[in-house]
Symmetry: C2
Subunit: 208 residues, 2 copies
């Protein structure tokens, strides 16, 4: 598990010619950093008298952000696994017609599975962006810049995951599957971009 290894091990391997980890894992990590910053704002608001009126909402915020962080940390690893499955499918023999058909079917199956991971990363990052808005609105104003950083990272991570969905859907023959996934990605990117603009504006307003 990359999250249990030194950070520099992940960065060195990412920089290398090794195909994994790649952009998918990188986007999951950046989404997890965004979620961690929402948690930080929540933790700096919990138990503060000045924010007594929002303690219940802050507790829920922290539960949600820590849940998303755990999921995104798992997806860092998951992306490397589905990538390996695609590579293996491409290496299958193609000497006979039967082998060619079998290989093509296995590639298509692996590509669909490989699409689901960055798709889920994008969905989770949109949720992190939504939580950033709550953090900026009701969280400790002394930590509002961290809510701003959270939305910036969540939006960039969603956009990054979208690029990795795009690579896969381009090779998927099941057009209904490909179009439904890409259609949803476009909605996610639109809402993330809107959240980035509004939360960033609010952050600068509160910073003065």
């Amino acid at each position: 598990m990359y999250v249990e290894k030194p950070m520099v091990v992940f960065l060195d391997k990412l920089a290398s010619r090794s195909p994994e980890p790649g952009g998918g894992s990188a986007s999951a990590l950046v989404g997890a950093v965004g979620a961690a910053l929402v948690s930080m704002v929540a933790n700096l608001t919990l138990g503060k008298e000045k924010y007594a009126g929002v303690q219940d909402r802050i507790e829920a915020l922290l539960r949600d952000s820590e849940g998303l962080r755990a999921e995104l940390q798992t997806l860092i690893q998951r992306d490397t696994e589905v990538y390996a499955d695609v590579s293996e499918a491409y290496k299958l023999p193609r000497d006979t017609e039967e082998q060619k058909a079998e290989r093509a079917a296995r590639i298509q199956e692996a590509l669909k599975k490989a699409t689901e991971v960055p798709f889920r990363i994008a969905e989770k990052c949109l949720e992190v962006a939504r939580l950033s808005e709550t953090a900026a609105e009701i969280g400790n104003v002394g930590a509002v810049s961290d809510a701003g950083v959270a939305v910036l990272l969540a939006e960039a991570a969603a956009q990054s995951a979208a690029l990795n969905v795009r690579i896969n859907v381009n090779s998927i023959e099941d057009r209904e599957f490909a179009e439904s996934r890409w259609g949803r990605i476009e909605e996610i990117l639109e809402e993330s971009a809107r959240l980035r603009d509004s939360v960033l504006r609010l952050t600068y307003e509160k910073l003065g």
Copy 2:
């Protein structure tokens, strides 16, 4: 050094109520991830016959991206140290007029030093964004999505660092210093945003 500890240690500490690491360190990490992705594109282009005509430029690209990655990895740590200096200055005694003056001077000095770190992170992230453009233009087209992710992360990290510059310049009394730093940050954000748009457009074009 956080980069030498398990990634989850950094994420857990970031999520906690501990004031460090904060948004500054998070932006340096995300910039380093972007630089690593530029290196990956370069490494996947080196030695490939199809890209024989750009090998010299790719070698220079890799040297630059690895240099920036090393600097940004150092800045993850550096941001926690200058933050600690600011906190210490605020804790100085203020019982006499002399102590008050001494404390105010120390705070101002620490704030200036604390501004330089996210300022440098933003500058380095702009350089990563520029390298992403080269990677998308001349790098292995099979890895173009990674160049796209690199520019997304570099731009978000520059914007994140800018928020951390903003917090400090707001408290700095030397207006000439504060305005010169913020003026340069505005230029960095403008160029980063332009690069994000153009590199992302090129990435989608090449992905098809």
